[in-house]
Symmetry: C2
Subunit: 256 residues, 2 copies
Amino acid sequence: MRSEVLYESPTHSWIVMGRDPDKRDEVIDTNEFAIVTPEGTLLPDPGGIEIFPRVLSELTRYCSPEDVVALFASHQDPDIVSSLPMWLDLCPNVKTYVSWMWTGFIAHFAMGRAASIIEIPDEGMPINIGSRVRLNAVPAHYCHASGNFSLFDPASRILFSGDVGAALLPNSETSLFVEDFDKHVRYMRGFHQRWMPSTAALRSWSKRVRALNCSMICPQHGAIFRGEDVTRFLDWLDALEVGRLTWDEAAPSKAA
Amino acid sequence: MRSEVLYESPTHSWIVMGRDPDKRDEVIDTNEFAIVTPEGTLLPDPGGIEIFPRVLSELTRYCSPEDVVALFASHQDPDIVSSLPMWLDLCPNVKTYVSWMWTGFIAHFAMGRAASIIEIPDEGMPINIGSRVRLNAVPAHYCHASGNFSLFDPASRILFSGDVGAALLPNSETSLFVEDFDKHVRYMRGFHQRWMPSTAALRSWSKRVRALNCSMICPQHGAIFRGEDVTRFLDWLDALEVGRLTWDEAAPSKAA
């Protein structure tokens, strides 16, 4: 598994981990992130059971596993947060932030330790790591999950975007960053068209995210958008129609 | 955990299991089903890790756990199929049917045994249990998951509907069936309005399901619709607008 420091300041740093060459092909590739502070580490979308050992191992380069004080789940999918029982075993006091809609669902992962799951209301909420780092859960509902959040750091202006901006990359694409936007589009178009249910919801997200003036947009699959690619990505998204089925029945978004 | 036989014939029977009085309150309640044949058993949405022991125990009243030859996952959620690794341990030859969109995602549950996961294409497919029982995976995309299927049995005309028709019942509602439709609506309205992203997708599902002339509609949460309540439910659904957020931003379905 590779990792890089995305941002570093006296208060906190952002780490990305991904492109594990040992990952089995049938498991969808995921990017893992860590926000490391002297008062504890938050993991956005800590990942699936399958990759837990390698995420844990890579994380130890930046902090002690026992420093993990919080998990953030953009939504309820297995690749997002099925490692939850393992993190709860390792860090019994960890808090898990997730949409109010999914607390009862991810409790199915939690094996009797659901007390530390914190509901995020639909309008979002601030999420603190210690006393000096305050992140914001930004609404991303219906993109794709019904209850869904991005996570924004106002200090670094980095946005963790979950499945928005995700791309299904071939193994030959090894960079953690988008290097050639026009080429990258081919890896993300199909995902957005089919996984995202609502064009209107996507427009709503894009409008909210433009106002944040992000330095980077970090999806959970694919590659990170930085610099001018942030605006290129939002422009591309605003021209896309989603909710498209792959068979010959009229797609819901068209039939509305 | 309670269970009842919903249908019985020389070729197969349908069992429902649910309303576990020992379930912890923070775990969302689920109904589990089993289609038992002399040539093997299929479990639609076998459930979460949390309830696996009790489902297994109840199932032994109707068949041997080793008789389980197939799992069907309507979609990828933890309450639907996070018990997958346990079933794969118990029944190494079991086949798991799920939308092509989620095979790489539920592989995150599978712990290295993903070879037996079978992709359902968007248009659906027949699913056989042995030589005499043929079910059909019926498209239910964007209801709520982007890749989503109901499961229909043409012999009994029973439809397993996953999250469509789901209700969040108080513990005082102990019947496995809808007994008073007008009263039941209060338990399912909010779920459908918020969890379902697309009114058009729901209309498309309802039209497809009306044509099946179902004897029962069996959701994964809540209670079973039978007799005239089947049509009552479809009529109610056809008058409902979904994709509704709980805060004051315009809901995506309205803003489209």
